[in-house]
Symmetry: C2
């Protein structure tokens, strides 16, 4: 099943989202959970802190004992022991104090902490020159997290602070979606691996390194396959050798006689679409063979890179378990204002490589579908919508920041 040309990027994303389900869940050690997408709602099975806890190094006391203390009428308390963090301590009676460390449980009888910097310690006594309110420098049991509180929702991609939060409630393992395994399959008889001598009429292969790096920037490892020769047999054999969850191919997806990849995918499974009204990237196609998703990207490196951002990365995020809205949205956008006119053609979405400065000025960069040098100068992509023939100087725009 192929779709006619005329698909918008949004149409293509809708087809991708309708076809891709998250990969199964698995339990992993917390130290391996960073960047993974949660497959469970996490609630806390305990209070944090688990007890009334000192937030400062100092002295635990009964706040009422300090009332009325001033530099003129200091209050003196007897130090009856110490409460180091993680250890037992004596109780605090009237007129008494206990030396306490940050993180230690408040001794029985005490209801406040006075920091060591605010008191004078002499012999076995501590002298206060100001009153302390009950609860001062004490974190109450459950103040940060209440037992049963919802912490993190399924579908969330775990950030460092989320990992810390999970540790703080005692989680050593967490349920996340399996990560997609990725293959990068480049095609083209003209391609030569970097580092090798370059014969006349041949070109160094950039797409393999580029797309492996794109996958790795998203935390995914990718196997290199290719460059594969431009023959139906070689391409078919290369497809059949893939057992990854998603195959990023480049080239052999346009209108030429050697552009047989879409047919080969269709013959083995189904083609979801071929051709999207975007520039660069028009020849892009998607489909599947069994459970394996095929992202057929164009051969021009910048077009492949743009299609990765606009279509393949959302597909990977869906496999990783992100909810549809999060998976399809650009990760990070910055508002700005166009510093130069952009011309486009109605009927297709242009993805223009742009810079954006601190003041929000957005400047389009030149360069065609092959010009990696211009793309490497870009901070992000600016979409010129299908219905417009361009954008004027001063237009308010969003820039999709690219890593």
């Amino acid at each position: 099943m192929t779709h006619a040309h005329g698909l918008s990027i949004d149409d293509a994303l809708a087809l991708i989202a309708a076809k891709i389900a998250p990969l199964p869940a698995e339990d992993v050690d917390l130290d391996r959970a960073l960047g993974r997408v949660l497959a469970e709602d996490v609630a806390s099975y305990l209070d944090v802190p688990g007890f009334d806890r000192a937030c400062m190094d100092g002295f635990a006391l009964r706040a009422a004992d300090s009332f009325g203390a001033s530099p003129y009428e200091p209050v003196s308390l007897t130090v009856v022991g110490a409460a180091p963090a993680g250890h037992a301590s004596p109780p605090v009676g009237p007129g008494q104090a206990v030396r306490i460390s940050t993180g230690a449980r408040l001794p029985v009888g005490a209801d406040a902490v006075v920091p060591v910097e605010h008191v004078e310690v002499r012999g076995g006594r501590v002298r206060l020159v100001a009153a302390v309110a009950p609860g001062k420098h004490v974190a109450r049991k459950g103040e940060d997290v209440r037992q049963g509180a919802a912490l993190l929702e399924a579908g969330r991609r775990l950030r460092p602070v989320d990992v810390g939060l999970l540790a703080s409630v005692g989680r050593a393992r967490v349920r996340v979606h399996r990560r997609p395994r990725v293959a990068v399959l480049t095609t083209g008889d003209e391609l030569v691996a970097p580092g090798q001598p370059l014969p006349e009429g041949r070109t160094y292969e950039a797409n393999g390194a580029l797309l492996v790096a794109c996958a790795r920037a998203g935390g995914l490892d990718a196997r290199r396959a290719g460059p594969v020769a431009d023959t139906r047999e070689a391409l078919g054999a290369a497809l059949d050798a893939c057992d990854e969850d998603l195959v990023l191919s480049t080239g052999a997806t346009s209108a030429g006689p050697d552009d047989v990849l879409p047919e080969l995918v269709a013959a083995r499974g189904e083609l979801w679409f071929r051709g999207v009204d975007m520039r660069p990237g028009h020849p892009v196609a998607f489909g599947r063979v069994g459970a394996r998703v095929h992202a057929l990207l164009p051969g021009n490196p910048v077009a492949a890179w743009v299609c990765f951002h606009a279509l393949a990365r959302p597909a990977l995020r869906l496999l990783e378990g992100e909810p549809r809205a999060a998976a399809l949205a650009p990760r990070l956008r910055r508002p700005g204002r166009l510093a130069a006119k952009v011309t486009s053609t109605a009927g297709r979405t242009d993805l223009v490589r742009v810079t954006i400065d601190d003041a929000g000025a957005v400047t389009p960069l030149g360069g065609g579908a092959a010009a990696l040098l211009a793309a490497s100068r870009a901070h992000g992509l600016l979409r010129v919508p299908r219905g417009l023939e361009g954008l004027e100087v001063g237009a308010d725009v969003w820039v999709e920041v690219v890593e």
Copy 2:
């Protein structure tokens, strides 16, 4: 040598930048270069494309032959062969055309390409219904990159598209700075590893998982050391066992009697500063032992996390080889407008956890130095400058986006 309290964050960063030199350079395979910082200026030793190159699948021809072609007076050319990418092709004479693939070298005699979609092919002839300009659908030799052109500068952190660019000019290896090895040394008798039973009065250790994740989010691996007991002997032995380039410790750096880490570092090397006028994070200290940098972060998890972003990450970036200005600046900032008042205390910089929505509305989140739950809701940090006692609703602010 210790510095008195009263240091601003900028003072602390200036000390860090004055003390830290980039790690030595090494050559790595391009596939391992993503995220590394270049230790060489890269220029191209070849033209890209290396020859006049077809940008479309179609027919190579002499543009002059097409002049005057129209639907009423089509021009017909004889197809004399094919130019597949990476292979030799026959020359194109007057009245002739050669079938050509994207990426192929333009045959001798040809000066333009007409896409296959725009012509009618019948028998051995191709029929044009429109004129083609010389140079159409041809990328000129050196059009993307001129031999000798500067591509990437030393000090640049390599993004995926940079890796592609390096591959496109034939680079299989690249000179980058060595990555810092990191240790995460947590301290505190009260700490229990996540997954273990939690005795009364004890707390799950969040800082280890949190800081390993912070390092990993920056592409660095980190060794876990600790939790180490709160004794001078245990802490000294743990310090002496570190041979990493940077040690992130948490706790034992405040004003209490057990807070001996700054002294232990000073005794073995030098302390650059102890105490920064910031909240959270005031007890933070930095120093070195031999070539090893010590970032002594506070024990409260949110304070440790904020100090990682504000001070330790810049230190890591300097070790990684980023130039001073790039290393000390927040990676990514978004402009916004405060949706609620923020109060602070003059004389210290507050780093407030905030959310920012698509419209740029910035909302401060509650929670103290231990409240990871509130921090996990934050999109970024907002700095309230030292000289101010707060920020009013509607103030224009920058949010430092955190991963």
